[in-house]
Amino acid sequence: MSTAATIFALSCLVLPILGRWLARFRDVRADWASLSIWAPLGMAGLLVSLLAMGSSSSVWPMVTVQGGLQTLALLVCGGWIVLSRSERMEAAGTILMSIVGLLIVTSLLDPVRTASAGSLGLFISIHLGLIFVGLGSFALSFALSVLYLTQRNRLKSKRLQDIRDLPSLDTLDRLNARTQGIGFVALTVGVAMGFFMALGSSSGRGLSGLTFWGTVSVWGWYAIGLQSRLMGGWSGRSAAVFGVVGFCALGAIIGLAAVWQGGWHGA
């Protein structure tokens, strides 16, 4: 049930991207490929999959890598639906749905593992939930940053034919600051919760290793970025570069945690 719903969700997100790609390079109509129709369907598929996962196990789905990746995919989808209230956000949707697709595919490839006994509490679910909200916001920030750099490049190099496909630099920068801010706050609280949980546990698990140090480094990176924006006026291009580099680092950590470690803090 869970796998079927996941594949349905994946199809809902891949089909419109494929349709738009075909429409761009071949003379094909792509009215049907609007993400505003398909993204909610994809979200519904992911929700069903997570519910199925939750009902077949005694732990919250996000505690496992598979469930966690799908939770993140769900949050990114929802984030895009909120973003799409601004004009000309279809390109951001394409980037974000590609990320969502990648997360879903990774979750399907990851073997289903049972969570360890230490992962069962509600507290850890909130810790993970907040971290996923942070990661989801940074994914949105990444898409906005890529669009900012693209639009800036077009304006600087006077390639003005396509500039109206994307939002204004001001809109992109403003939304980028907002998503980075939300992500940073969520990540800070999430990491702090995890830190105190680890301190309180007898094993101290989670206070070292790739995920811990990687997350702390990314947190530091975004902290520097936001501080520079507030104090030094590092908005626009600088903030966009911060957004892109930060999310790429996050992607590497998630990938390594999921594939190499076999769990958020080891198998």
């Binding site: 109206r164 001001d170 908005s235």
Partner: protein, 427 residues
Amino acid sequence: MAPDERLVAVGISHHTANVEDRERVAVAPERVPVILDQMCAEGFISEGVLLSTCNRTELYTVPGRNGSADRLARLLAETGGVLDRSLVDKIYTKRDEAALHHIFRVASSLDSLVIGEPQIVGQLKSAFRLAQTGNAAGPMMHRVMDRAMSVSKRVRTETDISREAVSVGRAGVELVRQVVGDLKGRSALLIGAGQHGKVVARALLDFGLDELVVANRTFERAADLANLYNGSAIPLQEVDRYLHRVDIVVSSTGAGRLLLTRGDVSPALTKRRGRPLVMIDLAVPRNIDPSVNDLRGVYRFDIDDLAQFAGRGKQSRLDAAEVAERIVEQATERHWKQIMGEQVSQELGRIVKGAEHIRLGEMARIEALLSTLPPEQSVAVDAMTRAIVKKLLHQPLHQLRAWAEDGNIEQAQALFTAFGREDEEDA
């Protein structure tokens, strides 16, 4: 009035004249009603609309007793105060159906510098309002303008002519908005009083710009412009001091040299703390060093960039223009017949009135004799004369109406002229 001139369009536009020549006949909005009133008073026109934009100055009119198309063309060449003979050759004249066709093309933006640009509709409406202010908009101009607006709407609805079409002013605004977003709360510095600069500044204000600072070589000119745009004026030498404050710089001076170099702009960027600065250089030769575009947070555009942006989708609009031309041609043929039909119907009333006037005159001549008759006989004579007039006019008027409805305007006009002559002879 020449009998064959019922509607005349005379004008000068970007097709026939350069900016300098167009500027010489351009008429400020506040002068339009005065000029039209004067032309009406001197009998050059009986009604008219004067359209003056940066791309054209045109007079649409029904010539008066002292007016003719050629005379009006000369009058237009004298708009600057003295007759400029070099301009006469650049002024075109269109009569009757061709004039209506031209007005429809102008209203549909088929005659515009950027085909499909939307501003012309508003400009035409403003020109008509000014004509109404000066009481120069008679029934013919009402008919023509109503139909021009309806044809323009049809062209925009049924073709893609307006899709992606923007004027230079709008192109400037769009480019600025691609960088700074909403113009609310933004400020701009206008350097110089060039036509394109004023157009862009006007468009920025129309789109919500909060503050405009005007700098000019002549401070009084800057103050005048600032007053017009509800902004503030500064001397040209103080431009550097405002670069860190404003979000947009529009330059269109005739200085013929660089006014803002990289060295002038660079220090202002530190104070801006990352806020982007859009610089639009509309001057030829340029006023803003092109290398400022390499500075972080600075976006510089020139007139070619605006033209490139305004020209987006040009081919699709040219294709749409072919369809639009056919719509305009069909509409011209149909509406010209209708307008003339309405004119004829109006004249029918005049003929009936004229005949009644003659009848009453004849009755007055035999008033003394009628007074000797008993009242019922007097009433019978009155009724009889009324019936004679009615029966005599019935067939010709019926024929006139039929010709008007069928669009046989020339025949209707001939008969109408015959009535007119009879009337004049009698008078």
